[in-house]
Amino acid sequence: MSLRVPIERHRLDNGLKVVLSPDRTVPVVAVNLWYGVGSRNEAPGKTGFAHLFEHMMFQGSAHVPKNRHFELIEKAGGTLNATTWFDRTNYFDTVPSHELDLALWLEADRMGWMLPAMNQEKLDNQRDVVKNEKRQRYDNQPYGDWAERLQRLMYPEDHPYHHTVIGSMEDIDAATLEDVEQFFQTYYIPNNAVLTVAGDFDSKSALEAVERYFGEIASGPPIPSIPGRVDLEPKLGKTARDHVVAEVPLPRLIMAFRTPPFSADDFAVSEVCQALLGMGRASRLHRRLVRERRVAKSVVSYQYPLLTGASMLLTWATGYPHTDLDMLESALAEEIEGLRDAEQTEVDRAIALAETDFVHALENGASRADQLSMFELFFDDPGRVNTQLDRLRAVTVEQIRSFALDHFGPDNRAVLTYEPAARGDR
């Protein structure tokens, strides 16, 4: 399969990196911005601020009153949103292609002229919204504190991944307008951002439009170094444990491993390992734990591709009401360690699924744009979107076996277990 995403790269004088990827088959265009700032940039006492700031970016800018960004995009028949993650914050608008200029103008206005629109009332309002987001997604949910607990096990206290993206209520409460101003001036500068446009447009006029809307935004000083200690041992050096008895419906075990940083050569090996474990119904964990041994109701595995020190491979096994957690742990560990005997047929199957998923991702302009922004921001190489599949295909079964030996032993594990509180009464 030789599909290629077309890519043009540009850089404005102010440092903004621009990636254009035309595809005129459907009259849809995706505008996508990645800013090089995430929760890893938060100083102690400011956890959750990168995400709160993301909310503030929707509160208007000099020429766009509060809610107008949403109103204009929705009236155009478009969609928009943003997400904050450890290493970055992304903003994306998808619109019918005749509204490309609108999306560019809106994104440029908040990149260049956000601060004049800020005030205390807006901050207080979004602080309440974010606190309700935290309650809805974490505090009021069974297992809702898992990320907080797992990150504490995986990353030392002075490491930027020790705290969660949502942060703590106290820190969210403590955020001030001065913080907003300072954060904006430090991180929301064109030389710390990538703008990708993917879909139905003419490259020449799109580039002119980008230059028109973004060109006069002043660049800023270099980004400050990440707070805390960023170096990390490649392995945990132990099995770190946390056991929680809580109001949860079913026993659950989360086992996680430090894996190489996203930028490392052997990150692809780690990705294929994850696919063998959890991609599809014929994958190891599903086949063995769910289907054959029936010790887990469901299993999930995925990877956080991270830049700073180490990534994280996570596996979840949710048991049945009476599943013994020790048994579940040894069953899960056995299958993961079993990758040291991985076979070529399972690698072939994972690659076949990855090929289908690759084409699926290309179907959608927003996901194409998001990947291009990511590869440009993290690797200065949006072309990786086209070589990514080859990187996976190049992984050999021998590499998987030796990776498993190196990374999946008891000297590199975090184990977080949830036990239903009610179970003791039975």
Binding site: P27, A76, G77, E247, G280, A282, V290
Partner: protein, 456 residues
């Protein structure tokens, strides 16, 4: 650089509309309604096999049987085990799934177009010759029961289920969750699943939808081969009338000790998919709570900070499904949030949306329709609605015109007919000791608290 005015939005470019792809319609020799759309942007294909007669055709004692049967289809066929089926599909990079719901069962497939000739026979085998081996059925059943247990402790699911029983009269299928209860699932055996599939997985009244880089004649030939010998119509037929549980406004609090937030549902019986009010009502609902800039979201989130988000929606089904406002709000603001939701409902039901609001909602709906036709899966989903609800063949070609034809008066009338704040059922899942008394003090109607322990 040419001078331009940064202070106001740039003008739109010239619009490039595009049509819903042409859908070829064929009838296979066994009566199966085949719809094929050639979309050749990328070498992929998306398939849906829809078989009518779903959960709404099942009595309350069999609730969840359609859902569980569909979930068990990955357990293998008469020719291969569950693992062999999964390996056969995934070896060629094919993704397969099946799910049951109110209207019927839908099996789906997504694969590279040049793998369709190998993948479609596997989908056919899974559906037409399911194996239901005992150990796989036991597994699917255990998973289903454990899933029900999880839902009982999930505040959102809990609110959803409690609300349905407040909207619909006892005995109406929609009054229950579509995946059954511990009681109905616990008694299911492999023979029940076999019996259900044999009686109801039948080609008549269903449809096969194929969208992607394919040729209609080749799909017809392939489908004839895959489904030859498969005949008949489903035995179960949905036969019920939807009646509301109450005509007066009532409030129910489901006690969840220690909850730090309240899950709120406010709703009542809505209307069915083929209502002539569909477009006008969709516009009215977008204004009320269907978009980010809806009245509800701007009020509860952007003005008051009560919530992370709030939405309203109509569950359009063959029979009138629920109409519901859903949100999660902080404990201390729960009564205020309920009050605001009812205010917004009263406002739109009695005075309707404004001209500007209707124009924005119309434009949003017409525009987003095109945006959601990017992938073959999105197109296949839309096309399968033609079969599920018996919509006219030119339905999607006319969709945007009909949406753009909605008037302010039409949207107001539809809102007045189908949004009835005085009949709204208020359901709150939260800490009753904290939010109960102030909610009762609102005096909205008969007030009740249930303290049944989840999972008990």
């Amino acid at each position: 650089m040419s001078a331009f005015d940064r202070t106001s939005p740039p003008p739109s470019g010239s619009i490039r509309d595009f049509d819903f792809p042409k859908v070829d319609r064929r009838r296979l020799s066994n009566g199966l309604d085949l719809r094929v759309a050639r979309v050749a942007r990328l070498p992929v294909v998306s398939v849906r096999l829809f078989m009518r007669s779903g959960e709404s055709a099942l009595g309350v004692d069999s609730a969840g049987l359609c859902v569980l049967t569909a979930n068990s289809l990955d357990g293998g066929t008469q020719k291969r085990s569950g693992t062999e089926l999964a390996e056969s599909l995934e070896r060629i990079g094919a993704r397969f799934g099946a799910n049951g719901g109110w209207e019927g069962t839908s099996a789906s497939l997504y694969c590279l177009a040049d793998r369709l000739a190998e993948a479609l026979p596997l989908l056919a085998e899974a559906v037409v010759e399911p194996g239901f081996p005992d150990d796989e059925v036991a597994r699917a059943k255990d998973q289903h029961l454990a899933g029900l247990r999880q839902q009982k402790m999930d505040p959102g699911s809990l609110a959803h289920d409690a609300a349905l029983a407040r909207y619909f009269a006892e005995g109406v299928p929609y009054a229950r969750p579509d995946d059954g209860t511990e009681q109905t699932i616990a008694g299911v055996t492999a023979d029940h699943l076999r019996g259900y599939a044999d009686a109801n997985y039948r080609p008549e009244n269903g449809g096969l939808i194929v969208v992607g880089d394919v040729d209609t004649a080749e799909v017809v030939e392939l489908a004839e081969r895959c489904f030859s010998g498969w005949t008949g119509s489903p035995a179960s037929v949905a036969d019920f009338e939807v009646t509301p549980a109450a005509r007066e406004r009532r409030v129910l609090v489901v006690h969840r000790p220690g909850a730090v937030q309240s899950e709120v549902r406010v709703g009542h019986v809505g209307t069915h998919r083929l209502t002539p009010d569909y477009f006008a009502l969709s516009v009215a609902n977008m204004v009320l709570g269907g978009t980010f800039t809806s009245r509800l979201n701007l009020n509860l989130r952007e003005r008051n900070g009560f919530t992370y988000g709030v939405r309203s929606r109509f569950g359009f089904r063959s029979q009138p499904g629920p109409f519901e406002v859903a949100t999660a709000v902080g404990n201390e603001v729960t009564p205020a949030a309920v009050r605001e939701i009812l205010n917004e409902l009263e406002g739109i039901a009695s005075r309707g949306p404004t001209e500007d609001e209707v124009a924005s909602a119309r434009d949003f709906a017409a525009g987003i329709f095109g945006l959601q036709l990017e992938t073959v899966g999105q197109i296949a989903s839309r096309a399968s609605q033609l079969v599920v609800f018996g919509l006219a063949e030119d339905y999607y070609h006319e969709y945007r015109n009909r949406m753009r034809a909605v008037t302010t008066e039409g949207a107001a009338e539809a809102a007045g007919r189908h949004m009835r704040p005085n009949e709204a059922q208020v359901v709150v899942v939260g800490d009753a000791d904290v939010v109960g008394p102030p909610l009762e003090a609102l005096g909205l109607g008969p007030f009740e608290v249930t303290r049944e322990q989840p999972g008990a």
